[in-house]
């Protein structure tokens, strides 16, 4: 640990705490807001959505009265929210499983095998990975149209599950697994599949978990693909549907926001170390 001059300590600590608060406050605000009754939210924050109001809203962090009314509405009275939630969860699980399969295989190939034009192919993958969604959205649309998959769940799963990012990450991860382990397994006559499942994946467990996390978060927050590929707005996943809740049934948007936040927040709390490792892997050469 290096030290900075004492006179900088206080401003430095202020910056750190301010940054932490800037991150934490919005989250706490959402969590606390979900414990206010819809009436209370309407009362305090209504003007933001009515648009005509003259008065401004004030920060209102602590509920006047703890109420589970919002949760009751979201969980029991309006089943469509919960249905969306489960559908999105299913969708994301499918994407993550697909992405893991493709990426572990591809990463294994790039990290531990040599085949013709490997470097060039790897560069092509990286370039594709760096392309913003908007560039790849059109090609995807053309193909999905050909395959007749538009307006189905498959059109959200396939392009995302086959995206090259996972292969890039798993290549980085698998490179760190020592060759000796693999050679030993080969001498014992393990098949390629066995080598991957029994040796590589367990040896790089945290890397695999981190890919699953990153893929899940990305899929959970998907906006562009559903908006483009699905004609029927009623099939939108939670990520896009929530935005319409914000404007239509504003008092419930806090509870809905927490509902959307919950899976990723739990994953974040339990697997933070793996998430950090995954990002570190993405920065290795």
């Amino acid at each position: 640990m290096r030290r900075i001059p004492a006179m900088f300590c206080i401003p430095a600590a202020v910056i750190l705490v301010a940054a932490a608060l800037a991150i934490l406050l919005p989250v706490c605000f959402t969590l606390l807001g979900s414990l206010m009754s819809p009436g209370e939210i309407e009362h305090y924050f209504g003007p933001v959505y009515e648009g005509t109001a003259e008065e401004t809203v004030r920060l209102h962090l602590l509920p006047d009265r703890l109420s589970l009314e919002s949760w009751y509405q979201v969980l029991l009275r309006r089943p469509d929210y919960l249905i969306k939630f489960w559908n999105s969860l299913l969708l994301c699980t499918a994407i993550v499983l697909g992405q893991l399969t493709v990426s572990c295989m591809g990463g294994f190939a790039f990290a531990k095998y040599s085949f013709p034009h490997k470097q060039v192919l790897y560069y092509i993958l990286i370039i594709l990975m760096l392309m913003p969604v908007q560039v790849t959205l059109v090609p995807n649309y053309i193909v999905l149209d050909w395959l007749g998959l538009l307006d189905r769940w498959a059109c959200l799963v396939l392009p995302v599950a086959l995206a090259p990012f996972g292969t890039f990450l798993m290549t980085q991860v698998f490179k760190s697994v020592p060759d000796e382990l693999l050679d030993a397994a080969r001498l014992d006559g393990a098949s390629t599949g066995q080598q991957l499942v029994r040796i590589m994946i367990p040896a790089a467990q945290s890397g695999v978990v981190s890919l699953a996390l990153l893929a899940f978060i990305d899929a959970w927050n998907m906006v562009e693909q559903p908006v483009t590929f699905l004609q029927d707005a009623s099939r939108y996943p939670l990520s896009v549907f929530l935005a319409s809740v914000n404007s239509e049934n504003f008092p419930l948007s806090f509870a809905c926001g927490v509902l959307a936040l919950l899976p990723v927040l739990l994953l974040f709390l339990f697997f933070q170390k793996e998430l950090v490792q995954g990002i570190e892997f993405s920065g290795l050469k």
Partner: protein
């Protein structure tokens, strides 16, 4: 003798190549079907006219797009966004990473929540942004209390800054994690030796930390570019298809041409964007190679 060995090695190498290619087949097939082949189609669209690309018109579509005011506005905004957002996020990321290495109060807390903004659902963030920045929102309330004029944070020129702030808030943690990993790889002895030679904090930063951190900074920069294009989600959920002029980005241009099924303009814009990113990343890679050599 030599040939005998070669004959033995060659089948093994060929088998290795085969297995490798089979393992990589799904990702190649996926990228081929969903990206490369349709990309070639787009290239054709961009050079033709009429439905289904019936007539070859050379670069006319490119000229039309480059001359259109909508594209120019979108390109200018996107460039402005990158020119301001990228240095900001890199500098803040570096500052936070350096501070996190010191034993300071608040460091543990920040480390634990660093990546939280990245995982938050866009819609929840958008709701909070609206409560904070809308016309009758909290920020304007505070401004009024202080006797200042409220502003149209979400509809006027200021929305650009809201979007930049949102981008930095959401993605800075990624950079900090990358840079912290890079900082941890710098051997402590270097600093000790430098101290013996009488180097001050600035000299140590300038001649040890910064040069050795270049690979991490490079990756942080690339991922920041990639992430910068994701702010479209926030911009779209905040402002819809036609947001305030200051945040009408290239992505809006693409998306709106998509809605109008104008494949020609769309393909041209996508290919221009692709080329710019391709050149930018290529340039960075080349620069990094050069500094290493």
């Amino acid at each position: 003798m030599k040939r005998a060995i070669q004959e033995k090695i060659q089948p093994a190498a060929r088998r290795q190549a085969q297995t490798g290619l089979i393992l990589a087949a799904p990702v190649f097939l996926g990228s081929g079907i969903f990206f490369l082949i349709p990309f070639c189609l787009m290239l054709r669209y961009s050079l033709t006219f009429g439905i289904g690309g019936s007539r070859f018109v050379g670069l006319r579509n490119y000229r039309e797009v480059l001359e259109s005011p909508a594209f120019r506005l979108a390109a200018a905004n996107t460039i402005r966004f990158l020119a301001i957002g990228l240095p900001l996020i890199m500098a803040l990321g570096l500052l936070l990473a350096l501070l996190l290495r010191q034993k300071l109060p608040g460091a543990g807390l920040l480390r634990r929540v660093l990546l939280l903004p990245m995982v938050l659902p866009v819609a929840s963030i958008v709701m909070l942004v609206q409560i904070l920045f809308a016309g009758p929102g909290i920020l304007n309330g505070i401004l009024e209390q202080w006797g200042l004029f409220p502003r149209q944070w979400l509809n006027g020129p200021e929305s650009f800054w809201v979007l930049v702030g949102l981008y930095v808030w959401k993605n800075c943690g990624y950079n900090v994690v990358l840079l912290l990993a890079g900082l941890n790889m710098i051997p402590e002895e270097l600093y000790q030796t430098a101290e013996l030679d009488g180097a001050g904090p600035w000299a140590k930063f300038r001649f040890i930390t910064l040069p050795l951190l270049i690979p991490s900074l490079f990756f942080g920069f690339i991922f920041s570019i990639v992430n910068s294009f994701k702010v479209y989600r926030e911009a779209f959920l905040l402002g819809g298809e036609y947001p305030a002029q200051s945040i009408y980005l290239l992505q809006h241009f693409l998306n709106n041409n998509f809605r109008n099924l104008n494949y020609q303009r769309l393909s041209v814009a996508a290919i221009i964007l692709f080329s710019v990113i391709f050149l930018l990343v290529g340039l960075l890679l080349w620069a990094q190679r050069k500094t290493e050599a």
